[in-house]
């Protein structure tokens, strides 16, 4: 489903060259749940941006659902991003001026669905995350956990094949965090590929696979007690 080969990303300013990613190889198959871990500044955010088609790699090859991304222009990338990927951010990133309906509506509009189709999907998505009754409320009226649930609804309304989450529980207390993780795992169980970038070992422990990025290089790790021990040290 997601295939990166020798992907590297270099940031160049006038004075300094930063290698955020070096020759990263990664493959994620259908239905997998992968946690991407690593210390701050390791490049995991860059990895997420490239995986989510938000940034272009400096070199290397990236295939998403069989499509070679590296050759695509902005229009095609945007379309792919719209159709195949759902984002969940640490700070929710809901648009405060819009009510929940209109927030979830945003990606559907760029998809070009009819009015009826959009309405159906929005209602189903909100139902799925358990907030159907708050359809016309505004993000400010919701708790953190509820906002994240709406963000997830927005991410899945278009039926994406890949869910990319960046520290989805970072701004939530432990109870809400558990709820969100349960929801994401349910979605994964139903067939959506789930890639979560996190530095929380508990979340990493729940994934099928861990990919550890340090200094721009990825290492696959099996889930195991050794990792847990390292994190606690």
């Amino acid at each position: 489903m997601l295939q990166m080969t020798q992907v590297s990303k270099v940031f160049r300013t006038e004075v300094v060259e930063t290698h955020a990613l070096r020759a990263l190889d990664l493959e994620v198959t259908e239905g997998e749940f992968v946690a991407v871990t690593g210390p701050s500044g390791s490049g995991k955010t860059t990895f997420l941006n490239i995986a989510g088609l938000l940034e272009e790699a400096t070199s290397g090859e990236y295939k998403l659902d069989g499509v070679d991304i590296t050759k695509l222009g902005d229009r095609d990338r945007s379309r792919l991003r719209n159709e195949k990927i759902g984002f969940v951010f640490q700070s929710f990133n809901l648009i405060p001026d819009l009510d929940l309906f209109d927030n979830i509506d945003v990606p559907l509009r760029y998809r070009g669905f009819s009015r009826a189709e959009r309405k159906k999907r929005i209602e189903e998505a909100l139902e799925r995350v358990g907030l159907a009754s708050r359809l016309r409320h505004y993000p400010a009226e919701l708790s953190g956990g509820q906002q994240q649930r709406v963000a997830i609804a927005r991410a899945i309304a278009g039926g994406p094949k890949l869910l990319l989450a960046d520290e989805p529980t970072g701004n939530l207390d432990s109870q809400m965090a558990r709820e969100i993780m349960r929801l994401l795992e349910e979605l994964n169980a139903q067939g959506t590929v789930l890639v979560i970038v996190t530095h929380d070992p508990e979340i990493a422990a729940r994934a099928q696979r861990n990919v550890h990025i340090v200094d721009g290089v990825a290492t696959d790790l099996e889930r195991g007690p050794s990792l847990v021990k390292k994190a606690h040290a």
Partner: protein
């Protein structure tokens, strides 16, 4: 999608009302000022007789002395009475008319309306009415025979007819002009060619002539001359036949370019003949401009009107630069919003379009307000002291132009901000809080 963008635009503009109002007001003032001055200019430089302005020609000859008071190399702007009568008799054009402005005392012979001066008199010949497509609502003009016989007839304008008789149904009535009675044989509708192209020596943008009578008649009944008289030599009576003075206008109608060329040749031949006879001193120096050429030659549009238009356009330019800046701040303030939309799958093109629509909405509202201001501006112009003042009206083309100008200008101003807005990288916004 456009509907979606319009909804988003509305929402966004309502969010920061002050900024939006500022933009709209700036656009409105710029558009209002520009449309006011452009309308005035449009009125002043319009073709006064578009259906035949390319078939009507003004005749200029040069009977001036070689040396003397006026040594200008240009042919005269008006004609001597002798030359005009000669050309009229020769009948070399499809139609021709001799004319000049006049003033006379009108006695309505009503106890409630004392005699009044009329400055909008035209002393002319029979072809005038057909040449200039003058619209009659009753009766007709006079004939060539009437010209020859100095018939005591006249044609009235609608306003004069209503002033004197209270109606336009006045064929056959008499009008006392100076000390003589003229029989009314025709009444014309409101006719006010702007500019007053056929005689630029009387009010160029004035209300239009109200009393028409045969030239020969006006000479006999002591109608005064209105306009300009220029003499280049000694004379006793400037208005006598043969006096070295120019004071009448001569227009011809020529239906094709070939005929025009032929007529010009005739004028040259006529000048040479006059030189041989000793009447002219100079070599043939003739001109035959059509209506628009004649207007251009005389530079009828007042410099002040043109200058005011440039000032207004300069003002609009500053308003637009202002709008570019304000739109830029408006769009960039929303970087987070744009970043999220990009992440969710909006292409750069989609964002660009969305922002451009927002600029367009500002332009539309600014256009509506600008139209109001232009209407107000023209109201002020109509109360200004210039003679063309009451012509300052917004007609349909100018009205539509106002909207077009406002929307086009604002969208143009919005191009740079929209482009900058759509460049907002989706990745960069996600981490910043």
């Amino acid at each position: 999608m456009i509907g979606y963008y319009l909804a988003l635009a509305g929402r966004s503009l309502r969010r920061n009302v002050v900024l939006t109002i500022l933009m709209i007001v700036a656009i409105a003032f710029g558009v209002g000022a520009s449309m006011t001055t452009l309308t005035v200019l449009h009125v002043l430089s319009a073709d006064p007789i578009p259906q035949k302005s390319d078939r009507l020609y003004y005749v200029q000859l040069d009977p001036k002395k070689l040396r003397g008071v006026d040594e200008s190399p240009e042919p005269n702007r008006q004609m001597t009475l002798l030359d005009a009568q000669n050309l009229l008799k020769a009948k070399k054009a499809d139609r021709q008319a001799l004319m000049t402005g006049g003033n006379a005392g009108i006695d309505a012979q009503r106890p409630d309306l004392p005699p009044f001066p009329l400055d909008d008199v035209r002393q002319t010949t029979a072809d005038f009415f057909s040449m200039f497509d003058v619209p009659f609502i009753a009766g007709t003009g006079w004939t060539a025979a009437d010209d020859d016989n100095a018939a005591r007839v006249c044609v009235l304008g609608k306003a004069l007819a209503e002033k004197v008789y209270g109606s336009t149904n006045v064929i056959g009535k008499t009008l006392r002009v100076e000390k003589d009675d003229l029989r009314v044989i025709g009444v014309i509708d409101d006719w006010r060619p702007v500019p007053h192209f056929y005689d630029l020596n009387t009010d160029t943008y004035g209300k239009g002539d109200q009393l028409f009578l045969p030239f020969s008649t006006s000479l006999q009944i002591n109608v005064g001359h209105s306009g300009s008289t220029n003499c280049w030599d000694e004379h006793t009576d400037a208005f006598a036949v043969g006096a070295p003075c120019e004071w009448v206008q001569f227009w011809v109608e020529l239906d094709s370019k070939d005929k025009a060329a032929a007529y010009k040749d005739y004028l040259i031949a006529y000048s040479q003949e006059q030189k041989r006879a000793g009447t002219y001193e100079r070599d043939p120096n003739v001109r035959l401009p059509d209506v628009m050429q004649w207007l251009a030659y005389n530079e009828v549009v007042p410099d002040d009107a043109r200058l005011q238009t440039w000032i207004a356009l300069g003002f609009l330019l500053v308003c637009l630069v202002n709008t570019v800046g304000l739109l830029l701040t408006k769009f960039l303030r929303r970087s987070a919003d744009i970043g999220v939309r990009r992440a969710l799958g909006a292409s750069k093109r989609a964002i660009f379009l969305q922002l451009l629509v927002e600029a367009g909405v500002v332009g539309l509202v600014g256009g509506v307000l600008g139209l109001g201001l232009a209407w107000l501006g023209l109201w002020a112009v109509r109360h200004q002291p210039a003679t063309y003042a009451d012509l300052a009206h917004l007609d349909m083309p100018m009205l539509l132009s106002t909207f077009a100008l406002a929307i086009l200008a604002t969208v143009l101003a919005g191009l740079l901000p929209a482009w900058r807005g759509c460049q907002v990288a989706p990745a960069a916004q996600l981490r910043s809080h």
